[in-house]
Symmetry: C2
Subunit: 268 residues, 2 copies
């Protein structure tokens, strides 16, 4: 039995550079399909198109319209291939509507050097068993977010005021994360993980879903098996928009992905 | 007399969605033309193509090959226009070679709401007169970086060890910034400012220019006139690559631009 993440993000080649996908209703959230899931679908099409560059190094996605469950087409246009990296433009469409237009550079994360000089600090999360499982999220949140059933998330108890109607007012949200059926993380699933948690604006007392205008993810290493630590932060909500930074750390204590998105402030 | 930034980033329409530009040798750095300057050229083409959406909200640029002084063509393909924002794909070419492929969303920064809930803190810089002018940069740096003559930069003295061969080892570099001829900042020039300082890796003891793979900039407000504060930071140098985050604050104390780039580690 394949894991649900793999069967639901699968693409099949229908022509050179063209892929068919079936977007699963299990990833609905609010009025559309989760942007991270869609990035993983795109990621699989790119991986097939660039067989000797298996890993996303950076992906920038612009969300043009909300995706719905059902068939989709992914078109990959390789813009430059040569040396150790390749860059491609990608469109995800449903019918005539472009849902996402993206650029991506792929390479081989296994072939990179091992010089590490990081000052980033691993998120400080209490042990998994002392964190709050996503199953405790308010029923009104779970009702509009079937995607939460895909995940086992354990929220930092001091950053989970939103679950009981008492948001901290700080722009930080962090959690342990794994897929509910035990599917281990890899470079493609990290594209989904960076957009999996509830919007960090929940902890600012702004409930409601925050539409992403643009999300850029850097995948910095192939993750080790096991729980991931995911930390979201916003520092600047202004002019009806906010940036949301995400870090993903693996069980070996490495910063494996960083992302930033620009999103519209929830009407809340 | 137009300011040099305006005359050197000017584009002229040669067909619907196609623009001609003349890349100036004054923006050379290392083996190519500065990526921020190129973003501003692209930014002017987008502004012309989208007259009622005058401001960049977000631009993601993928650098495919090094640009050289001389003629260039910018092609703008509007992917979606409707409501308050428009998204376009852009290529900057020289001859047959694509130098940059980019995506951008434009809007009207003057029409945004004024709700601000920021926790970001303004960079702590000593007064301009107590900072180190860029004219003190080592001659070998200035020789390969004519673009430094475009700027009046005043570096934080505690983050300028690289100027005297004694880098701090911290991944932070900040400076006061203005254009040398007094041209005031605007939403387009911010696209240049986010990539104007020396690579933050200078302060890690890794001299040499750091080629950008991808840079995404968010412009969050139109800047007030006067000096800008610019702060660069890297937190994760690993696998031969590093991320560089940049913040730009205006003289009114507002965070007006944020950017992140993924760059290759200098060979040092």
């Amino acid at each position: 039995m394949p894991y649900e993440f793999d069967s639901q993000t699968e693409v099949s080649r229908v022509a050179d550079g063209r892929y068919a996908a079936e977007l699963s209703p299990g990833w609905l959230v609010g009025g559309g399909i989760n942007g991270g899931y869609l990035l993983a679908v795109i990621g699989n099409a790119l991986r097939d198109r660039l067989p000797d560059k298996p890993d996303p190094l950076v992906v920038s996605a612009y969300y043009l319209s909300a995706s719905t469950p059902g068939p989709a087409t992914v078109d990959v246009d390789v813009r430059r291939e040569g040396g150790s990296v390749a860059t491609a433009a990608v469109d995800l469409r449903q019918g005539e509507d472009v849902r996402i237009t993206a650029l991506a550079t792929y390479g081989d994360l296994g072939a990179l050097g091992d010089d590490v000089r990081t000052t980033a600090e691993e998120p400080d999360l209490p042990p998994v068993e002392d964190c709050l499982p996503s199953s405790l999220a308010p029923p009104e949140v779970r009702a509009i977010a079937p995607l939460m059933d895909r995940f086992d998330m354990r929220f930092h108890p001091e950053q989970a005021g939103w679950t009981v109607g008492a948001p901290s007012g700080n722009g930080v949200l962090s959690a342990w994360f794994r897929l509910v059926d035990g599917r281990e993380p890899d470079a493609i699933s990290l594209l989904m993980v960076v957009d999996a948690l509830p919007p960090v604006t929940f902890e600012l007392g702004l409930p409601g879903w925050a539409p992403t205008l643009e999300l850029t993810a850097h995948v910095r290493a192939r993750p080790a098996p096991g729980w991931l630590k995911v930390r979201h932060q916003t520092r600047n909500l202004a002019g009806g928009m906010f940036e949301e930074d995400c870090e993903v750390w693996d069980s070996a204590g490495r910063l494996v992905a960083q992302s930033r998105q620009l999103a519209r402030q929830p009407r809340g």
